[in-house]
């Protein structure tokens, strides 16, 4: 860290003007904001003047006009959850897996298509920085420009190149250069031969393709084999989120006497969310329950493969 780039990769103790901060309102509501004197953030808990943010410590609790919020340092995960949505995005569980399947690390050269809202693009750029590079491709000019601007503000300009380009017809921005290629396109099989070309021949590389439907996976697998990839494997992740609650544990006698409805107390916890608590002398245990009841059960299949190095 020679210069002091904006907040994504700087570790100053205190918040400076120009930093991107994540204003944590509740678990479900986070607002990414660039701190600028004279501006005011409006949210659920009222107004918060940016002046009050500057000079504060990262992670500090601040009072807004109608409640309090926390000012967090942006991370890849927080950005994924808070970013301005322009398209369907890849969430943290998939982003994490894709980085791992690409063998991404500082110094890696990675090609991506499409850019979309830039959720994964940020994750890749942060991982390959400061010596690697991300080439991200999208057919949509507006989205590409928006992400380019974000990269700049977030201090990722030097490690990223975002281009408007249809990789299914025109291939990737670089050839014989990439350590990994990630595809999230409707017809990955069209892009796979180009992906093979973009990989650095002497070192070999990795290919990862994300597809919601099995028919896309079937065709992508065929195309990967035809393009010379090996160790082709398709995996699917199904995360399950849990909530920790305090639960009564009553005896049959207590149930006979009281029923199962206890008087409830409402309390706001440190997270800002309302929790219901029963007030009763009946013993309680702490347990984890699957929550929310309805959860994502499928995002897409991840098909990954290896291009072996070619002797020169």
């Amino acid at each position: 860290m020679t210069s002091s780039p904006p907040s994504f990769m700087s570790y100053e103790d205190r918040i400076q003007e120009g930093d991107t901060v994540i204003v944590y309102v509740t678990y479900g509501q986070m607002v990414p904001t660039i701190v600028k004197r004279g501006q005011t953030l409006m949210m659920k808990y009222g107004a918060l003047r940016h002046e009050f943010i500057i000079g504060k410590r990262w992670g500090q609790r601040l009072s807004a006009t109608a409640g309090y919020v926390y000012i967090l340092r942006p991370t890849s995960d927080l950005w994924t959850r808070a970013l301005p949505r322009r398209t369907q995005i890849l969430y943290t569980a998939d982003c994490a897996q894709i980085l791992s399947l690409l063998d991404a690390k500082p110094g890696s050269v990675i090609c991506e298509s499409g850019t979309g809202s830039g959720s994964l693009s940020h994750a890749i750029a942060l991982t390959v920085a400061p010596t690697g590079h991300l080439y991200t491709h999208d057919i949509d000019e507006t989205r590409t420009h928006k992400v380019l601007e974000e990269f700049k503000v977030h201090g990722l300009g030097s490690v990223t190149t975002a281009v408007v380009r249809n990789v299914c017809t025109s291939g990737f921005h670089v050839e014989n250069a990439a350590d990994g290629v990630f595809l999230d396109v409707p017809a990955p099989w069209e892009a796979i031969p180009f992906a093979a070309k973009s990989i650095f021949r002497a070192r070999g590389g990795r290919l990862v393709s994300f597809s919601p439907c099995l028919e896309q996976v079937q065709r992508a697998c065929l195309a990967m084999a035809a393009a010379g990839f090996v160790s082709i494997e398709t995996i699917e992740l199904v995360p399950e989120q849990k909530k920790i609650v305090s639960q009564h544990r009553q005896t049959l006698e207590e149930f006979e006497e009281l029923g199962d409805a206890y008087p409830k107390e409402r309390k706001r916890n440190v997270d800002g969310t309302i929790v219901e608590q029963s007030s009763s002398a009946i013993p309680r245990i702490t347990i984890a329950i699957v929550y929310p009841y309805s959860q994502p059960t499928h995002t897409g299949y991840l098909t990954h493969a290896t291009m072996l190095p070619v002797a020169e």
Binding site: P106, A196, A223, E236, G272
Partner: protein, 439 residues
């Protein structure tokens, strides 16, 4: 290479390197250090390490205790020839109607080129069509277009007639091995399959999630306490890429039982962020000197015992300059690590626990985490994390989430697409949160 993307020279296998060895269609994945004259054994296949030196990583053919580089194209062509004879001898009356490869080039290549499980005669013809197209210089792009436009064999035959055939064909390519540079992903998989218990059941997909939730990238200062054979530590070192700090809290006098750090062949620059710190120092809250004496000169029996227990190789009488330098390097790294902890310059705290209660680690290290820093705790036991959740929620932690995830491998084969019938599923749970402060 990790830090020089412009580098164009090829990395070749060299003596002393740790390598991943897999048989094609094999179950095992072994991590072996290739040293001269060493015999490499993998599922009954044997070759001498020397025969791989100087060759690029990749596909090899083993014969006469030697391994010879082999191109993937050759493998595919060869398979095709083998199929021809087998297919002829097993013509299924159902599929003898003449195919027209010219009009309808129904190309079906089994998903994994290294696990080719061909489909009877039809597929042989289809494979012919691919090779013919290749010869005619048809571009990959065009070929794929043709390939997907008519993949009727994905649809029209029953599953069971094929399976029988495939069984007959299994384990044909038993003299082919992959010799690959270790990656965190491959190491995680190899150790998980070999000894999930000692890895605290940590699956590769969960490791990936830990790294991402920790907000890990170059320049960060991370404290790691883990009981996962060095896997988490090694992954952190790789993602730091030479800047930042991976403070590894370890038992005894020197960091032990971390094969996953050693087998990644890291260069000195990458390893510069690896700062092992003794539990003893963390408990004391400060840097402690090593006991330089074999004898308990200061009467600290406990310390002596531990040094012996850890089989500390240096003895005062045969200490040479190199050993002294190593010790000084260790002390220097440890000092840097402890200073970062005491200065509360820690951006992430990762705990990957097997037997140790995470709360006992949190009590010592959570106060050292910088505000807005992330905490990630992995445990194979949900109950342990529920207690940790309780502990953290009373100490200004927000964004607390407990997750679990299922990871399934799909079999994608013509007419036989389904999740694998059985898989290693043992795994753990991940608790994450962000530390905040009040004023």
């Amino acid at each position: 290479m990790e830090t020089e993307p412009a580098e164009t020279s090829q990395k070749l296998i060299k003596s002393g390197e740790y390598l991943i060895v897999q048989k094609i269609d094999g179950e095992q994945s072994r991590i072996v250090r290739f040293t001269p004259k060493q015999k490499i054994l993998i599922e009954k296949l044997k070759f001498v390490a020397d025969s791989a030196f100087g060759k690029p990583h990749g596909l090899f053919e083993v014969s006469n205790n030697q391994c010879l580089p082999m191109s993937v194209d050759r493998l595919i062509e060869e398979l095709q020839l083998q199929e021809a004879s087998v297919a002829t001898s097993s013509i299924d009356p159902e599929v003898t109607e003449p195919s027209e490869p010219s009009l309808d080039p129904r190309v079906v290549i089994a998903p994994s080129a290294l696990k080719l499980e061909p489909e009877q005669k039809r597929q042989k013809l289809e494979m012919d069509a691919v090779l013919e197209m290749k010869k005619q210089g048809v571009s990959g792009q065009e070929m794929v277009a043709k390939l997907v436009e008519g993949s009727a064999s994905f649809q029209t035959r029953t599953v069971f007639s094929q399976s029988k055939y495939i069984k007959r064909k299994a384990k044909k390519h038993s003299d082919r091995v992959l010799i690959l540079r270790p990656t965190i992903r491959l190491l995680a998989k190899a150790y998980y399959l070999k000894d999930p218990d000692r890895l605290a059941m940590l699956r590769a997909d969960q490791l990936a999630l830990i790294l991402q939730m920790a907000g890990l990238h170059h320049g960060k200062n991370v404290v790691v306490f883990e009981q996962t054979l060095g896997l988490i530590t090694s992954a952190v070192i790789e993602r730091l890429g030479g800047t930042g700090a991976c403070i590894h809290i370890h038992r005894g006098a020197v960091a032990q039982s971390i094969p996953c750090v050693h087998s990644m062949n890291y260069d000195d620059n990458t390893l510069s962020t690896f700062l092992p710190v003794r539990i003893k120092c963390v408990l004391a809250g400060k840097h402690l000197p090593y006991d330089n004496n074999r004898k308990a000169v200061n009467g600290d029996d406990d310390n002596l015992e531990e040094v012996n227990g850890d089989k500390e190789p240096e003895k005062i009488e045969d200490q040479d300059l190199e050993a002294l330098a190593r010790r000084n390097d260790r002390l220097d790294r440890e000092k840097r690590g402890i200073d970062l902890i005491n200065d509360e310059q820690i951006h992430s705290l990762i705990i990957g626990s097997r037997t140790v209660d995470p709360i006992s680690v949190l009590e010592l290290l959570y106060p050292k985490l910088a505000p807005s820093g992330t905490i990630v705790i992995y445990s194979p036991h949900q109950n342990i994390l529920i207690s940790a959740y309780d502990w953290l929620s009373k100490r200004q932690t927000i964004n607390l989430v407990l997750t679990d995830q299922m990871c399934r491998v799909m079999q994608v084969l013509p007419d036989r697409t389904h999740p694998l019938m059985a898989q290693h599923v043992a795994g753990g749970h991940i608790l994450t949160g962000i530390k905040v402060i009040d004023q």
